[in-house]
């Protein structure tokens, strides 16, 4: 559906701020976000996990109330779910006890649409989305791709003006996902979809460039819109087109760009939220860290282009970025403008044997990961050299949510076990210094 000249504004988000925890005093997820969706466009919200993009989508859908700010739908403030939008879920969210047809009719039934019309509209949507013949099947009988088609049919059948999609293709295999993307774009171009605009949440840069007219890039922790990029390439878009590659590279650069001032303070992790002991760490394994350092050291300058690296390793941004940034935190690598560069220490690590690697890793942990240093210090100071995990998880929860605190502690435990800095007894949930 090409954009009409007098495009009307469908939706607006004004200064949305979202904080979790009691009375919105917890960590910030979204901060000062402004979004406008016009008629006739496909917009992507691109960001990594922790950028609050899914929260933003739910605020727009009326499923979540922002801590402050508001969403406005065609001039009316959003207070709860409303008929103008319909959502496609990452996990499909199909009711396993309803058939394809019954799942599709769910929204219509909720609105008490008469049975005859319900059936007519449902079979239209089912045909359109390529599910003809599967009406009486249960979701468990379908493949992942077919299930998500049901998800699309269920959303389209209510004739929403704005279709909301929450990472709709990320639970599908590569081939299926690509087919579904092209099918959807074809239907959109041919004007066959009973909708006026699409808003999609994704962490997949290429997917965003392939499908959208406009991309909004969200930063992480807290989520802020850091860039807006218009994609003017004509459909169908070709991933090998140099202009396409250039767009992808540009976005990679923006997503790894550091704001000035990040670098100066040695206590911050740069890309990780929080400072000092309260820094939230990603669950990255030491195998992944070692693997990436080895891969980088294979090239003569110890440097690589992140998009190319991601393609080579078959990683998505959400897989690659946390590893790269952990290396950066540990001063084993530098990440900037879409490139990653091994430091001297990183190169030394890659070239050492296991014993030396452990020693080097331990030094960097104590020097650059404040939480690891704190645990080590507490254990050193105590006469019995033991400390309960709760001692640290409680401290972490002052800075972050329980889930993040758990992930952070887990990450540090895994890293320190590798470095043989200290030991952790899972049954007793206690840290102890390794017997010398």
């Amino acid at each position: 559906m090409p954009k009409p000249p007098d495009a009307q504004r469908l939706l607006e988000v004004q200064d949305a701020r979202m904080a979790y925890g009691a009375e919105g005093k917890g960590p910030l997820v979204l901060d000062g976000v402004n979004v406008a969706i016009e008629e006739g466009e496909i917009v992507s919200l691109l960001g990594r996990s922790g950028s609050g993009k899914s929260s933003l989508l739910r605020i727009i859908a009326g499923l979540l109330k922002p801590t402050s700010g508001r969403a406005i739908w065609q001039g009316q403030p959003v207070t709860g779910p409303y008929p103008g939008v319909a959502m496609v879920f990452q996990s499909f969210a199909l009711f396993p006890w309803l058939t394809v047809e019954e799942n599709v009719e769910l929204g219509l039934e909720a609105q008490r649409v008469p049975a005859a019309e319900r059936e007519r509209r449902a079979s239209e949507a089912i045909e359109l989305i390529g599910l003809g013949g599967f009406e009486r099947a249960y979701p468990k009988e379908l493949s992942g791709g077919m299930r998500q088609r049901v998800g699309f049919a269920r959303a389209l059948v209510v004739h929403p003006e704005l279709l909301l999609m929450d990472e709709p293709f990320s639970a599908l295999d590569v081939l299926t996902a690509e087919t579904m993307r092209t099918d959807l774009i074809d239907l959109w171009i041919e004007g066959k979809l009973p909708i006026r605009s699409v808003l999609m949440v994704t962490h997949n840069i290429e997917e965003a460039v392939l499908m959208s007219d406009r991309i909004l890039i969200l930063s992480s922790n807290p989520g802020r819109i850091i860039a807006e990029i218009k994609i003017a390439l004509p459909h169908p878009r070709n991933r090998d087109d140099p202009r396409f590659r250039q767009q992808v590279d540009e976005i990679y650069g923006r997503m790894t760009a550091r704001s000035p001032g990040d670098r100066a303070d040695s206590r911050t992790g740069g890309s990780f939220p929080g400072v000092g002991v309260g820094m939230a760490l990603p669950p990255v394994s030491t195998n992944e860290l070692a693997g990436l350092m080895e891969t980088l050291s294979a090239s003569s300058d110890g440097k690589a282009d992140l998009p190319a690296l991601a393609e080579e390793l078959n990683f998505e941004v959400d897989d690659l970025f946390p590893i790269a940034e952990t290396l950066q935190l540990l001063r084993f690598a530098e990440v900037a403008q879409g490139d990653i560069q091994l430091t001297a220490a990183g190169r030394r690590f890659a070239e050492s044997d296991l014993e030396d690697r452990k020693r080097l890793f331990a030094e960097h942990l104590v020097a650059y990961v404040p939480l690891a240093a704190l645990i080590k210090r507490v254990l050193d100071e105590r006469p019995n050299h033991r400390a309960r995990a709760a001692r640290f998880s409680e401290e972490l929860e002052d800075f972050m949510s329980e889930d993040y605190a758990e992930d952070t502690l887990k990450a540090v435990i895994a890293w320190c076990r590798f470095a043989e800095l200290f030991d952790y007894d899972e049954a007793e949930q206690t840290f102890s210094l390794e017997p010398a």
Binding site: M87, S91, A93, F95, P96, A110, R112, K140
Partner: protein, 577 residues
């Protein structure tokens, strides 16, 4: 069919322990006292109702079995309605949850027959001079054996609704009423039905116990299999007992085949897994119903009607959909609510204190606790023995799928078996050989409940991952090492679930099994069960209250100090992800 045993872990293992448990305990005991006060006033004129005496003619048994079954069905319907309502309220209202959940936890630790002692007189007072009151009491006894478990199960389901389905339901604009029928009820159905089936076993036990009952000077006999058993016991009629066993067996099998198998097979479609189960439960009855044209003709309009009702845009009541309040308003309501609950609990506490100080002395409490310790020893020893016997047997069976398939229904059937059917045999042996009733009446306590250990262990062993079994075999792991590192940890979560259920059941059964009568022989073992049974027979309400309260506290304490930590450990360490 083997899997769900564990997934629906016993509810006693889940609730948090806090101050609210005390509040709940005070409220429940307080209510008992109030009821017993009222009961004493009204009970006097209700001497043995001129009921037709129970005939021992076996040809009357089908009719008796039917009467007993009707009571079961009525109780099931009541439990279902209660579970849906109570759980929904507890899950949707934060204020209600604070009180309702600990209340439920304590309620399910109260021995079922304890409820019966209180309620029978109250129900009789509701319909004076009429059998109806007694019928209600009997139905209520079965209700108390099922309702708490079912409510807990549905509450757990509501608290673990898949977030994405919940969002989808809201995003597509379903009202709370529509959401209940489209999402919440279907999601909770498999666990609810499974729980209902499991508590049926207890139900049969209690329905027979409640049909022939004496509370003080009120004797109650309801036509039914239970009354028939009581009559046969009194007349020392072995043939009668044999007929009753047959009638009971046939009834249980009919219920299993015509009600529960179809229900479980039907509820399979509500399971959350998006992959089709390789071995879904089957029911010939359900297949038949689905195939017959008549059913299709009757069923379709019913289905359409149900769908119509489910899609009504009823808004939730004020309780389910609280009006938007300011933070301050919410806090005020919190405080008012808290004050009300604590006030009520204090009132109940005062009531208890007044009652206890008037009617009972410290010596009574010490006496009851001492007797509880005796019963505790019995429970511990017997569950230990049962575990020693049935764990190896269960593992042996569980590792042989063909056997497991056949044993599961038999064990469930045995668990439903009313213990009073065996009084004749046991009492005869004890009397003939001059044995001590203190020791030899004890096995009656676990007669019914030991099977829970068996079928849970069978389920655990059947679910044991094949690759681990093969790994152990290929490394030559055998004997004690195999039990300690291979099979033991693998079945621990299942075993704990089974043993917990068995121990709870044993406490319950103490009330009917520490006292046994066969004709003129009345045997009595020292214990809290006998204490409650005696107090009930004598209509001594203060001592019933005391006995039931002490027993409840023992059960709660045992759950909290032994079973819950064990279960947590098993869940955390020995669960196959």
């Amino acid at each position: 069919m083997s899997e769900p045993v564990l997934r629906r872990a016993h509810p006693a293992l889940r609730a948090p322990f806090n101050i609210w448990d005390l509040v709940a305990l005070a409220l429940i005991v307080g209510v008992f006292i109030v009821i017993s006060h009222g009961a004493r006033e009204t009970v006097a004129p209700l001497k043995s109702l001129g009921l037709t005496p129970i005939s021992l003619d076996p040809w009357r048994l089908p009719e008796y079995a039917l009467r007993t079954s009707m009571r079961m069905i009525a109780a099931m319907a009541a439990s279902l309605a209660f579970a849906l309502g109570y759980a929904t309220l507890a899950a949707k209202s934060r204020h209600a949850e604070l009180v309702l959940v600990p209340l439920l936890d304590i309620l399910q630790s109260v021995p079922v027959l304890g409820f019966l002692s209180f309620t029978v007189t109250g129900f009789m007072a509701l319909a004076p001079g009429n059998v109806l009151g007694v019928e209600f009491a009997s139905i209520f006894a079965v209700f108390t054996a099922q309702a708490w478990n079912m409510a807990f199960s549905f509450y757990q389901s509501l608290k673990t609704l898949p977030a994405d389905l919940d969002e989808a339901a809201r995003a597509f604009g379903l009202t709370p009423w529509q959401k209940f029928w489209r999402l919440e009820a279907p999601y909770g159905a498999p666990a609810l039905i499974w729980n209902m089936m499991m508590s049926m076993a207890g139900g049969w036990f209690f329905v027979t116990a409640s049909e022939a009952l004496t509370v003080g000077n009120t004797s109650v006999t309801l036509p039914g299999v239970g009354a028939y058993i009581a009559a046969a016991n009194e007349k020392q009629d072995f043939a009668g007992v044999a007929w009753a066993i047959l009638a009971m067996a046939v009834t249980i099998v009919i219920f299993d085949q015509l009600v529960f198998r179809p229900l479980v097979a039907w509820a399979e479609k509500f399971h959350m897994e998006l992959t089709a189960s390789s071995d879904p439960p089957q029911s010939w009855m359900l297949d038949m119903l689905r195939r017959t044209r008549l059913m299709a003709r009757v069923g379709r309009p019913l289905g359409t009607a149900a769908r119509w009702v489910a899609s009504l845009r009823l808004a939730g009541g004020p309780l389910l959909r609280p009006p938007a309040l300011s933070r301050r308003g919410e806090r005020t309501i919190d405080i008012v609510w808290l004050a009300a609950v604590i006030g009520l609990a204090a009132l109940a506490g005062e009531q208890i204190f007044g009652f206890v100080s008037k009617e009972l002395s410290w010596a009574d409490l010490v006496h009851a606790v001492a007797l509880a310790c005796l019963t505790l020893i019995r429970v511990v020893v017997l569950i230990g023995l049962a575990a020693l016997v049935w764990t190896p047997v269960g593992v042996w069976i569980g590792l042989r799928p063909k056997w497991a398939e056949r044993v599961q229904p038999v064990a469930q059937f045995l668990a439903a078996f009313p213990v009073n059917l065996l009084y004749g045999a046991v009492v005869s042996v004890i009397v003939a050989f001059h044995l001590s009733p203190d020791v030899f009446l004890s096995p009656l306590m676990v007669l019914g409940t030991q099977w829970y250990i068996l079928f849970n262990v069978v389920a655990g062993a059947s679910a044991y991952p094949t690759d681990l079994k093969q790994a152990a075999a290929s490394f030559g792991v055998k004997g004690w090492l195999w039990w300690r590192h291979v099979m033991g940890p693998g079945i621990l979560p299942y075993f704990v679930t089974g043993a917990l259920t068995a121990s709870g059941g044993a406490w319950n059964a103490a009330i009917v099994s520490e006292v046994a009568s066969w004709g003129a022989h009345h045997l009595r073992a020292a214990g809290l069960g006998a204490y409650i049974a005696d107090a009930t027979a004598a209509g001594d309400y203060p001592r019933i209250v005391l006995g039931v309260a002490v027993m409840s506290m023992f059960v709660v304490a045992l759950n909290r100090t032994v079973w819950r930590p064990l279960y947590r450990l098993a869940e955390r360490r020995y669960r196959f992800a």
